[in-house]
Symmetry: C2
Subunit: 380 residues, 2 copies
């Protein structure tokens, strides 16, 4: 039996936001939750204890990357990914689908699966629904994702339909492929930006039956309006007693918009990647640490923030580290940005719990306006 | 008054090794001690709390680097280097001399000081004995070093003599330049590989009078025998009640050889730099983590080691991180190597305390033989 369950604790009548509790083989996750991305078996720049201290409850690892290097069999031999990377908490693994489709080189899709070349050494590999599940089971994933085709954007109706239908067939194969029963399995809804296809995909995926449901093929270049429209079409078709996950989203304002449309789970490389580029999230907007104005700025990155970086370092020091190319710049910036995200999720959960979500959303939107959209999944 | 003192607790009759206690404005240092190098206001890759937890009592910062970027005035305005970098413990600063001489571009030595060009932007600067002390006082250094000329290797007797005599004149100017009285000041003995010049330098430097004495111009390409000969010539001329420091040394076996010749302080980029290149120190020799033999090695880097890295990660994981170019590889490797050094110094202190130093040296030399010499100061 899968040691996985989800309990819906509260649904905010004013906004549709949900408060939930997800139980996995490696612990609990309060939802809505954000999953920092640990592509290659490490959240870039952070010790796992730091990831936990920052308030992350669950991390995402990339099947494609770990399959190629160091190899899922090696990780299995080392006692599984949790032990290998010293992260005792829950891990969600993607299926590798998104990465395989974003490869620039050889890539051939058939009914069986996808033939592709490694970005590391050009070697040829085939990923199938069965193989994707096998890899994720070897890793010891708590939540596995179905192997899907991430429909490109834009795609015409005919292509999007064929692609979505293949994803449905693959979803059934994934469901039947699991051997260990230890990891939960989430289905992925595709269908591009077409309402009829998203409806069909949602209905059929739910009929196949999974532990949770994800919306794929978003955050790939579409407008925010399109993204939210897709969420609004699919969400009512999903069962209340299963977690819902929008993959690769994203910006705090997009997360908020999805939460108020009934979504529970998120992942994005944005906080970690932008941190390494010196872009820091604050309650009063984005801060580019290399800017000369911070040269002798004694203040913390964000006066509202309780993170280790904000408690101990000035903007002047962080700017110095960044300009000097120091490793510690990446570490301290990442601590801050990931904490910004986990704190944001804590605030959302508190607002849902106390019935203040509608007011929170109004305040947030007044304060921020709409930031630039960013494409924010790990392509390679 | 300088809040600095040194107490010689024990001198091992069999080997000449010394156990001491150094008191600085920012805390105590048990000697013999190794100082990790924090060139640009950070021990590369480590949080200051980690540096402390690993057992480092004092760190070294580079005047040349901090003068150019972010600038000593800026650091002074931010409350000094301790506060700027969040390191509450003792800091020793070098004088910038070594870096200025190792510059490839313009560099002109006069009696007044050294004209040089920044390696960052080519801008021209003059460093004098007075300026070097002024910078170090701005940084809030606990132990400042005199501005010296690091005699090149090899140098003929005439050049080495002139250079040494200039260093003596500069030492007096440094002694007279201090304004705040907060930092201790160490004199530096030069004289190349020439016994008569080293004797003269030691005698005159002691006559000028400093809080401690360093041997400079070593670890610059000479043989280990030459290095130890210079130590043996100078050491008997130094007062027992002042700490002695061999700059830029080095390999554990060289540190041991110097400790048994009465030296108390050491610094070297070796543990941190080699860590970033994937070379790890262990009690059974050096370990190059990228080697294929560690691919699926479940064991820790060093079974004898108590560091965070060895307690939580396998060689297989560390190899994976290194091959994948992950930041965490640099962090975990650095934690291990710095801990190897601080643990080595703890072992030396325990051996001196218990009167077992001669036996320890014999065991160590039997086990290891002589490693490759490495030039191990931070040139730029």
């Amino acid at each position: 039996m899968t040691p996985f369950s989800f309990r819906l604790l509260r649904k905010d009548p004013a906004t549709g936001a949900r408060l939930g509790l997800m139980r996995t083989a490696h612990g609990l996750v309060q939802t809505p939750a954000f999953m920092p991305v640990g592509t290659q078996g490490t959240v870039k720049g952070l010790l796992p204890e730091t990831v936990r201290d920052i308030g992350a409850q669950i991390i995402l690892a990339n099947t494609y990357h770990l399959y190629l290097r160091p190899g899922h069999r090696l990780i299995e031999d080392m006692g599984g990914l949790h032990r290998f990377m010293n992260w005792p908490g829950p891990i969600l693994t993607d299926s590798g689908g998104f990465q395989v489709y974003s490869l620039a080189g050889l890539r051939k899709i058939t009914e069986e699966g996808v033939l592709f070349q490694s970005h590391i050494d050009g070697s040829r590999h085939v990923l199938t629904p069965e193989k994707a599940v096998e890899i994720q089971e070897s890793l010891g994933s708590d939540i596995m994702m179905c192997f899907d085709e991430c429909t490109p954007y834009p795609a015409d109706h005919d292509y999007a339909r064929k692609s979505m239908e293949r994803t449905l067939r693959w979803a059934k194969r994934c469901r039947d492929a699991g051997k260990t029963g230890r990891g939960a399995l989430f289905g992925i809804i595709q269908g591009g930006m077409y309402p009829d296809l998203r409806e069909k995909s949602a209905g059929e995926t739910v009929k196949t039956g999974f532990d949770g449901y994800a919306l794929g093929g978003l955050s790939v270049g579409e407008t925010k309006e399109d993204m939210l429209r897709v969420v609004e079409i699919a969400e009512p078709l999903l069962p209340d007693d299963r977690p819902r996950y929008v993959m690769g989203v994203g910006m705090p304002e997009d997360i908020l918009a999805c939460v108020t449309r009934g979504i529970d789970l998120f992942d994005c490389v944005l906080p970690t990647r932008t941190a390494r580029n010196g872009m820091l999230f604050t309650n009063s907007g984005k801060l580019v640490i290399r800017h000369a104005q911070y040269r002798n700025d004694e203040g913390p990155v964000d006066g509202d923030c309780d993170c280790y970086t904000c408690r101990h370092y000035s903007r002047a020091y962080l700017r110095h580290l960044f300009m000097a190319g120091e490793i510690l710049a990446l570490v301290l910036n990442t601590i801050h940005n990931v904490r910004y995200y986990t704190r944001f999720m804590e605030t959302l959960r508190a607002a849902i719990r106390s019935g203040e979500m509608a007011g929170f959303r109004e305040d947030f939107e007044k304060k921020r306006g709409d930031g630039d959209r960013v494409h924010d999944r790990e392509p390679l």
